[in-house]
Symmetry: C2
Subunit: 328 residues, 2 copies
């Protein structure tokens, strides 16, 4: 293990947009050590005035939808506009091993060589604040280091989407044409979080299917209410292969930002996300303390089994465990 | 205040299907007193072997969709089949006053006089377990008292739907034709919880619009994946006025029950709901203890404000409060 930097070194390095220091700061954020977590919190708090100046975009979709290809093409478009881009990926599968989706593959090669882009996988941790803390803090570090567009990538199969949608400004769902959602493995509820749905691979023989899917999703989304910000989710198609539709997606995101800034919900949404984040850390921590207590660990399975077998009332079981914990 | 019955009197009364005792037991469940809550838990646990023999149906829809009229017509159909029916209504607006949606109105008059029906509003409490505990326990009491169909009614505007969908077997969403959802005030995510959507008031001039809406919703719902039970949400129309479509809704619910019983997910879903209920009570209680502590009450607003103003990092604020609480 490399020696830890001092907090001043981290702050200075990030302020001067030093990528090497940024990487090490993200490693600090990702650490499971309590002392590292405390230092990370200090660091973020010190950098707080430098954060917030990016557009935060969440991107999800099941494996096979072409996320990497999309992000590479979209990222190259964004950097061609002169914007500094950071890509963070949450990898739920790496929770135990510390590996990452990105580590295994040679992907995003051209974006990886792009001087305006910074790519970093973010293993989903299990500590305080769960999946979201590390990515959220990494995002803030990237902002402090001057990145103007942050893409947060996740695999569209579960919990991490909710976490991501709670930390970004704009949530983009990538879908394939022709496959029903049931085939695509998209979980219930994810569609409703999307600010935009993009049908990928709209090229060659697949183009007509993609345009049909666009119309279907567009009419389905119209049945849902617009979000509180006044935004109505849109459906677009794109082809990373033929480099089509990417500009339109970027423009849509800019429209979104304009609308929300003009009705003041952009900042309000972020403030609400930050406050909710505090409460989430509190709740998660209270739960972790409870469920990790040896008495509870010993009894919880037993209680669950008696409930399952209809021998115990859920509330009574809860009360018994709570009393035990209170008198610990 | 009437004297409390002994636990034996409650048990005997409910076993003998005495409605007067059932009503008093529900009043016990709805009480905010800790001693009443403890007695209620004991009572439910004693009655547990008698519970579970009903089909639990959640019904939601915004004001104006015709919920009362629907429930009255549907309830009369169900009782005409010889089934004993209990209707419980969660009324979020009565949280403070103790009043109820039903108390204010002369509604469900014929159902109210029906000897096979039992109607009871359930004020949404704020105590242990939140909105759901009282209704859940009332539901179990009704089952122990021999009711075979339980309708749980809620207003389709927010949190209570999630609570209800977590306690019922079948979740029914009532919608109006012609009004966009945005006009109907349906919250995001509620549609995806529905096992069936019913377009109400499909009569007279409104009938063609209702049938069009049916087709639209049906095709929209097909874009969503079926639930883990294998059920694909259906859309139906009905007219309580012309007494049309109600039989079809009942048959659909029976189909649902058949499917889920044949693939064993009916019982599995209930077991999972009961286990989740225990965890929900635990989490709610840990949070209540934290947020009701005088130190936290004193500081929480201040922390929220510093986060809002960008002066403090969410995680650091959480850690400070948690440390304060741990050393209380």
């Amino acid at each position: 293990m490399r020696k830890r930097l001092s907090i001043e070194e981290y702050i200075e390095g990030i302020k001067s947009q030093n990528r090497f220091v940024l990487s090490r700061a993200i490693t600090l954020v990702e650490s499971e050590l309590a002392s590292d977590n405390a230092l990370a919190s200090e660091l973020i708090e010190a950098l707080l005035p430098l954060t917030g100046n990016s557009i935060r975009i969440g991107i999800t979709g099941v494996p096979g939808v072409g996320k990497s290809t999309f992000i590479e093409a979209f990222g190259n478009l964004v950097t061609s506009l002169g914007k500094k881009l950071a890509v963070l990926a949450i990898d739920p599968s790496s929770q135990r091993t510390g590996g990452s989706i990105m580590g295994d593959k040679t992907r995003m090669e051209t974006l990886g060589r792009n001087p305006l882009a910074f790519i970093r996988p973010s293993p989903a941790g299990s500590s305080l604040g769960g999946v979201s803390r590390k990515t959220r803090e990494s995002m803030l570090l990237c902002e402090a280091a001057g990145f103007e567009v942050i893409l947060i990538e996740t695999v569209g199969v579960g919990q991490s989407e909710t976490a991501v949608s709670n930390m970004v400004d704009f949530f983009l769902l990538l879908m394939l044409a022709g496959a029903g959602d049931e085939l695509q493995g998209i979980k219930k509820g994810i569609m409703e979080m999307a600010d935009a749905v993009v049908i990928t691979k709209a090229d060659g023989d697949n183009a007509p299917k993609a345009h049909l899917a666009k119309a279907e999703y567009q009419s389905a989304l119209h049945l849902f209410p617009p979000s509180e910000t006044g935004w109505q989710a849109q459906v677009l198609t794109c082809s990373a292969l033929e480099n089509k539709g990417l500009q339109e997606i970027w423009e849509l995101i800019m429209q979104y930002q304009c609308l929300l800034q003009s009705n003041h919900s952009f900042q309000q949404k972020r403030q609400a996300q930050n406050i909710a984040w505090m409460h989430e850390v509190i709740k998660q921590s209270l739960e972790n303390q409870f469920y990790n207590h040896f008495l509870i660990k010993k009894l919880i399975k037993e209680k669950e089994d008696s409930i399952k077998e209809g021998k115990q009332h859920s509330v009574k079981a809860a009360i018994e465990l709570l009393e035990l914990y209170a008198n610990r």
